[in-house]
Symmetry: C2
Subunit: 440 residues, 2 copies
């Protein structure tokens, strides 16, 4: 039994993420010849492309690319420059080249770009025994995997589906039409991968058929392709949520200037937005000059708003992504957030109140004769800012989706910036009301 | 062809996330009797448990729970109180009850809690024809899905595996031993679901066998179970990252006091940490009193640090989660982040410099006769704070993992709090150096 194998292959696989391209190619060559194929198959399309580029002769390239299924070959070619692409296409046999070319016409993140054209097909009027023998021939020949057998009519239209298990368990003399499920769920070739992932999650399928506008069957998307999509989308969402553009490659393979560009755009935008805090603070400059103690709590106040806003945004973005919350639920979410965050804010504010009073009593800090008013200002402001932050954080994803953006787009820092400016206005307004006639 | 069906079932499925439990049960009953089974199968274990609780008689309960595979039944029972659990166990037939009880002994997020005991077994010395006929009998009887056939010796130990396609495509007279892969990768029954998901991602398997300490085969985990795990872990990570404890139920089904509890703990901790900003500011109280203009830029400075830190933390947390970066890469990451963030910081700082100079020139704001020194202070501070923020944000996930915590634990707000305090110290130190003898 092998749990954590320690062969040359495993050591290379382990070192892989940290290796620069040329060392990857060298490491691949150093593998025993009979391990190379399996290793190559396990790589990402990007890494497969690096290996193919690194190979010196077309014979070796041919033997590598020929072991790929057409959809995987298309993914690799999409990573390469046009001239290398057509050179590699020429190395494929006629039938596969035809399939790969058809796949290259689709966008990578649409159904057509994810599907494999090698699905298991049967005719609705075969009997079970014939169908199994027909599938057995296809399995020897060209099938990658067998989940479902698709019943296709003479016009290549998808008319039914049965799981392999159903076919296998049925009496041999029944017809496919008798055991198949008519009108199967199918996706159109231009459906986006995120929608497809949602369908897989919703129905628990292992594979979905892909059809064109006239219901002709074009291929299948299998769940293992979708696992990659889910990981990819989770990473993209996390990066967008963290306030940057999604990276196109793994971190260590991304060039530095690309990192600067992907992060710099949003940072600069947030920085410009945050400049409004300087404007807001300037409006209260004379109050700060009269009661410097007010300035001391500025970071505390605005960060509470930012933190509670980022919590709320996180919850709602994930709930929207998993369809646990729909657009029309915004009103219910608002009600829940108002109650939750008012409670949270009141408690946090109380912590702030106690802190000021304690520090004053123990003479660790002197907040002046009106320290109780200062402490109360803090309490009220934190309650207001936390409530405002959560409401903003929970409503912004709905608003972004309504405007046609991805709800994950930069939500956390975006919320923080909005809340910082408003938080300052809330804080100083409360302070002017509480301290008028005493400190102000 | 059905893309977006609009039947009663679909309407219920659509409304489902927003429905309270009793309306769910009512909606389920209102479905045509022959649709109920399929609908029930598509629900989450939590929702299935709600339905079972809502049913009034054991006959109906029996017909619902009997359609579940043993691993799914175990998931449902885990959602229920002990008395309801044993009542439902009694409704199962002898053999299934035995299987379900065995599964209930495992932790939900370990291999044993995810696996199905109904795998396709063959003997290594059968020939292909015998093996296919043996599988055909199992398919009629008890198999859920057929991906791989597992070769089991007389002691129930796993000795090999072949994909169904391989078996199906092989010449009928060869033996299973000839075509099987010996020493298959297997997972131990107590392996954690996150590790299992990583194995699936790494090797691209459709199913993995689960064995006990003596290599006895106990069940299989299939990729569709893992898709749920990936979604679940992504949500948990996002919530932890957003600075809260992970919710146990979908947002709209979580009670308000639970929301308060899950969010309040971290918020309070962060609030207490952020109180250090008040302490830090107090140390510079006299500088603020002499140059109130310094206070105006406090939110701008600390938020730049927080934003760049949250970007860096996001990137590294995801890269660690997908094993694109390993623990030993911290040194390379540090080098990359220093260069990237210094560049970013210098550009953002320049924006700040330009803003002060422009506002002064156009008389929108008066920063005093030493406005160029103020602008330079801003430039240098932003550069330092952004660099410090990115380095902290990128190193903290490594540190958390090293200390045995999940790297995602509250990284973004945690980083922001750390960076806020240090950012203030950097800013006021730069200010004292730049403005000594003029404004201070």
């Amino acid at each position: 039994m092998v749990f954590e194998p320690e062969t040359a292959v495993e050591r290379l696989r382990d070192a892989w993420p940290g290796l620069p391209p040329d060392e990857r190619v060298r490491g691949f060559f150093a593998l025993p010849r009979d391990e190379q194929d399996a290793f190559f198959l396990g790589l990402s399309p990007r890494a497969q492309a690096q290996i193919l580029l690194g190979l010196s002769d077309d014979g070796h390239r041919r033997s590598c690319i020929r072991i790929l299924a057409p959809d995987d070959a298309a993914d690799v070619l999409q990573e390469l420059e046009p001239d290398m692409r057509s050179r590699l296409l020429d190395l494929l046999d006629e039938a596969t080249r035809h399939e790969v070319k058809a796949l290259l016409a689709y966008a990578e993140d649409h159904a057509g770009g994810l599907m494999s054209p090698r699905f298991a097909r049967v005719r609705p009027d075969m009997n079970v025994d014939e169908a199994i023998r027909y599938l057995q021939r296809q399995a020897r020949d060209r099938l990658e995997t067998i989940y479902y057998a698709y019943a296709i009519d003479a016009q290549q239209r998808l008319v039914g589906v049965c799981s392999f298990r159903e076919l296998f368990a049925a009496a041999p003399e029944r017809t496919v039409r008798e055991i198949m499920h008519p009108e199967p769920i199918a996706v159109r070739e231009d459906m986006d991968q995120e929608e497809i992932a949602a369908l897989f999650r919703r129905y628990g399928f292992l594979a979905l058929p892909v059809v064109d506008a006239s219901s002709k069957m074009k291929g299948i998307i299998t769940i293992d392709d979708i696992v990659h999509v889910v990981h990819e989308e989770a990473t993209e969402d996390a990066q967008k949520f963290g306030g940057m553009e999604a990276l196109e490659a793994p971190y260590l393979q991304t060039r530095l200037w690309q990192l600067v560009r992907k992060r710099g755009g949003w940072l600069a935008l947030l920085f410009l937005g945050e400049m409004l805090t300087a404007t807001a603070m300037a409006r209260f400059e004379s109050e700060i000059a009269r009661a410097v103690v007010l300035a001391l709590f500025v970071p505390l106040i605005i960060s509470s708003g930012g933190n509670s806003g980022s919590q709320a945004a996180t919850i709602i973005v994930r709930a929207l992504a998993l369809s646990q919350v729909r657009a029309r639920d915004w009103w219910r979410v608002l009600g829940r957030e108002l109650r939750t965050s008012f409670t949270l804010g009141a408690w946090l504010g109380l912590l702030g109140f106690v802190r000021v009073v304690l520090w004053q009593k123990f003479h660790w800090m002197d907040y002046g004769p009106h320290y109780l008013r200062v402490a109360t200002t803090l309490w009220i402001s934190v309650t207001g800012v936390v409530t405002f932050g959560s409401v903003t954080g929970s409503m912004l994803p709905f608003l972004l989706r309504r405007l046609g953006f991805d709800p994950a787009t930069s939500s956390a820092p975006f919320v923080a910036t909005l809340v910082d400016v408003t938080g300052l206005v809330i804080y100083f307004t409360v302070a002017m009301l509480m301290l008028a006639g005493t400190m102000l």
